[in-house]
Symmetry: C2
Subunit: 227 residues, 2 copies
């Protein structure tokens, strides 16, 4: 009943309601990006429902109205978060694979170099890997709309295919010693990343993840490397 409330209010003619906002508007996308970065870190530590809009706006130094200017609702934040994460991860993964392949004509050696680079990358993160947002969302997926879950699936599918393409080219040149499918080997890369992150976090040892990547690398060498 807003009418009753409105009636009790003084309602001073028209102006003088808001005295003077302290801070100025920022550049396009700047505040939005700050919210997303804060939200991603918080969601990886407390889950999505456990992360309040209030804490994000306090950390970002804006008001609630400011938040809802950038995001329609909390679900919209989730979507933006997942989009941003997938794009960033795509870029990192593709970057490593491309760099490794530039230095190696051989598909097997190229991929083995890429895995070593990946292991080094995560080993050097000061506080360990912050976590995979897709994995985090998967364990809370009933909070999200159908399209966000589709986004997650597409993102994961993309990484799977990056691995699978490389593995298929390797298998062409080096016949595998066991009848393992390249699809399963590709899934294993994804699974070991997700599982390795979780094991690192649970055991409070950031080095578990890079060691698992190197172990996967050993596995591939045994499967494909001749001699």
């Amino acid at each position: 009943m807003p009418d009753a409330t409105t009636a009790t209010k003084p309602k001073p003619a028209k102006p003088a309601a808001t005295p003077a906002p302290a801070r100025a508007p920022r550049k396009r996308g700047e505040t939005r990006e700050r919210i997303l970065a804060l939200a991603e870190a918080a969601v990886l530590e407390k889950g999505f429902a456990g992360t309040s809009i209030d804490e994000l706006i306090a950390a970002a130094g804006i008001t609630k109205s400011g938040f809802f200017y950038h995001f329609k609702d909390k679900g919209d934040l989730a979507r933006a978060l997942m989009q941003r994460y997938i794009e960033a991860n795509d870029e990192i993964l593709l970057g490593i694979l491309k760099r490794a392949e530039e230095l190696n004509d051989d598909p097997l050696h190229g991929f083995l170099v890429a895995l070593r680079m990946l292991a080094e990358l995560v080993a050097d993160l000061p506080n360990g890997h912050p976590g995979c947002l897709v994995a985090a969302f998967t364990y809370q997926d009933q909070l999200f709309s159908r399209d966000i879950r589709a986004l997650m699936e597409r993102g994961n599918q993309g990484w799977r295919e990056m691995y699978r393409d490389r593995l298929a080219r390797i298998a062409e040149r080096y016949p595998p010693r066991i009848p393992a499918s390249v699809d399963d080997l590709a899934d294993m890369a994804n699974a070991l990343m997700d599982g390795g992150i979780i094991q690192s976090k649970v055991m409070k040892d950031p080095q578990v993840l890079p060691r698992q990547i190197m172990l996967y690398r050993d596995f591939l060498r045994m499967v494909f490397q001749p001699g």
Copy 2:
């Protein structure tokens, strides 16, 4: 304005406030177990903060007071949930390992049989593996107290040691072909379970997890099996 409401009420001296509760008390532990089972399923789908006490009591057919009779607060529920999960998982895992070892004197064959049994177990779950509560909690661990996180670490450490012990005995008899540590190989089992569950969920294919377990089994065969 609740005061107005209170004022309008009759407030009859002292008694006659509560007429007659419909349902009767149940057997010891029965309701508590029902709440825990409902909560575990809900937490694996929506996260801990995303699971409301209201929905649990509605599903369990009790009142809020009934809930707080069994659990001091929501954190107490989390602790009970984790305890229950670790004990149940311990039992399943140990049961499989013991059964496989009864049928096999050889440590390698025994472990390979156990892995096959594990793969079959998860392959036969009608809706796929419901999820690992330790993994779920790990991605929301700032919601939980220090002692719950310690509980998770101990539980995971227990599973790690179950695998490590078997692998150590295997390595004694069959010298590994690569210098991989049994600790890393044990971590890989845990990581592939966690990661395999996530991959199954994201890709909506329950068979990814059993296939990853079988692939891990292939890996161990390559590492240890002579000939």
